[in-house]
Amino acid sequence: MNKYNPPRMNPSSLRSRFATRFLRSLSKINAKKPTASSSSPTEIFRRYRRIKVAADKSMAYSVRSRRTWSRAMLWKLRTRPCCRRSVKTSTIVRKTRHEKQNKNTTTTTGEDGVVFGVEADELRELVPGGEAMDLYNLLDETAHYIKCLTTQVQVMKKIADFYSP
């Protein structure tokens, strides 16, 4: 199977890192599944989950632990209840757990301080690891997260594109 390499502007760019990782995991998933036909919705759902998890994980790994959200996502992935991988008690896990326990009770004040309360909370739910961040960092993380998500979507689209007959 040809590995589809997206145009590389930068060999170590986020996009290429993510693409390589994701393709690798995709091939692993394909290798795992017994037959091409898995009719039950369960199977399909499982596959979907696997793929999604693979995508998320690839993205998070591409970002390493530089960002709070990536750390939180990795931690989440590692300690999933139905996790198929063994839970590694690595330093990353410990660190993120510690982070998660440090919930800052920050009041999102400001000129329109009152306004930020609700939306900020919603944003916190969306961005992994957002609960333990104050507004400024949250916005920072959101920006990076959006950037990575767009990369992820683009790469996945391209892959889907490539493989569609």
Binding site: S38, L135, L149
Partner: protein, 618 residues
Amino acid sequence: MESVADVLVKKVKEKVAKLTVGAPEDDCDITPVVSESSANFIEGLVKDAKEKGATFCQEYKRDGNLIWPLLLDNVRPDMRIAWEEPFGPVLPVIRINSIEEGIHHCNASNFGLQGCVFTKDVNKAKLISDAMETGTVQINSAPARGPDHFPFQGLKDSGIGSQGVTNSINMMTKIKSTVINLPTPSYTPCSREMQAMNPLLNPAQQLPLQDLQSTARQQIQNPHFDPTASHDDFLEQMLSPLSSCSWSDLKSPWDPPKSDETGPPNVGFHYDEVLASKLRQHQINGGDGGGVSSPATAAIKMMAQQQMMLPGRGVAGMPLSLGSSGAAGSHHQNDIIYGSSFKSPNQQGGEGSMQSLYNGFSDGSLPGTNQTQHFQHPQAPNFGATAGTVMNQSQASGSMTPAQPKQRVRARRGQATDPHSIAERLRRERIAERMKALQELVPNANKTDKASMLDEIIDYVKFLQLQVKVLSMSRLGGAAAVAPLVAEMPSEGGGDCANGGGSIHRNSNGNQTSADNDSVTVTEHQVAKLMEEDMGSAMQYLQGKGLCLMPISLATAISTATCHSRNPNKGGGSHPLLQSNGEGPSSPSMSVLSVQSATRGNGGLDGSVKDAASVSKP
């Protein structure tokens, strides 16, 4: 040394012999020690000294806990009694040959509570006491606690800290600062300096004013200046082109007692017109911007007033209380540097302060009328300070180019300069910065309102996450296959669950169900195109096409499926149908992304499966 020792021992022996020994009820000098173990301890020391050859001036006698006084002579450092305190009536005498030997023995111990020096020579006494490492040194006296107000402490192992009235209070006191934050600041950093100066009514204190013209300085410094003669000169100096006096003093309120007003105001009023005219002239000459004259006039009036007041009040420096009467509002207290504001009212601060001055003066510019305001003013005492220090600041700044007045952070009107507010402001700015950055990332983000901006961001993040889910769905059936589920219009969809089952089947087989429906195709194309360009409008298009229910159900279905891995089964909208006939792959240009929400585990085929919208992209 020997002679001293012999004489001393002889004298002590005589005194010891006179001591009465017995029970305390009998008012005896020597009474039993506190406990048997203590008595035993003392006996141990005495025995040790005896073994090592000390000279016993009396017989050692003990009765229970009562020990007779004992003087031991020729005690050497190798005996225990030379180091361990007996806490009983035993007195060792160590004979030394030099002062250094004595000091050395004193300092060699681990304890250091008290020491005594007996000498007639005060120099020796001081030298020895300085060298002794003890908490207290008594000169020509036995060890004692007092005097009471002296600190009492021990060095090394003899205690921690220091006793004594002051010391004990300090040791048991923790400083706590209470900060009362007024709605608006009552001081500026410069005002603090001035405040320190202000109470000191020496001419020498008027250091900030040194930078003024020399003549002006002289006049200012002379608190008893002759108002008549020096006034005009001073005014000229103040208004000279090089004058960099800060007119912010003009806004500093003064806090004079009303009594001061009585006499001088008359005089002041007299000079007001003179000053006003002079100022006007000068301003015209200097080409000031319009609108400055009246506040400046009033300011000068204030100045004159203050000048009059100076002798009376003995306030250091006229500018200190300049114009303070006029500036009633507390908002004037912000450190607005006038710089050479009269010359360049364009300066930001200058304008503002001019305005404030004007406002203040418009209430009735003459100081007499404004006094009542000041009495209510809580921050009055500080303002005298404000003036001078601000002026000082403006000196430096004024000496720079007038176009560059800022030397430190200038607060805008109504804004505080205390660190707390500055930090808050910084924080807000940073957040605004971040929002701007986010705005660039999010398409369609042309909102200016922060709240709606956040909403946009949230929607976009949700949309992206949704896309990821959709895309991962599309991988089902192998990397080479893209699930070809076709969205259908709600009108065409019949909520057919059986079809859903079939479609799943097709899904897994990697077949692509062609979108035979042209309308659907068109829709999909459109949506796909829109997706490429603009996510927001893509969604809107979907919604507009009547697929509004789908995204909702899609979103909920997916979210519930992923989050809870449960059957989402939202009753909502249409079921986009899959083609019941499994045709071959659709056109290559169409790769369809579809999302399914499936129940976990069981019961999938019984209609609990919903096919959500699929979006195609070319």
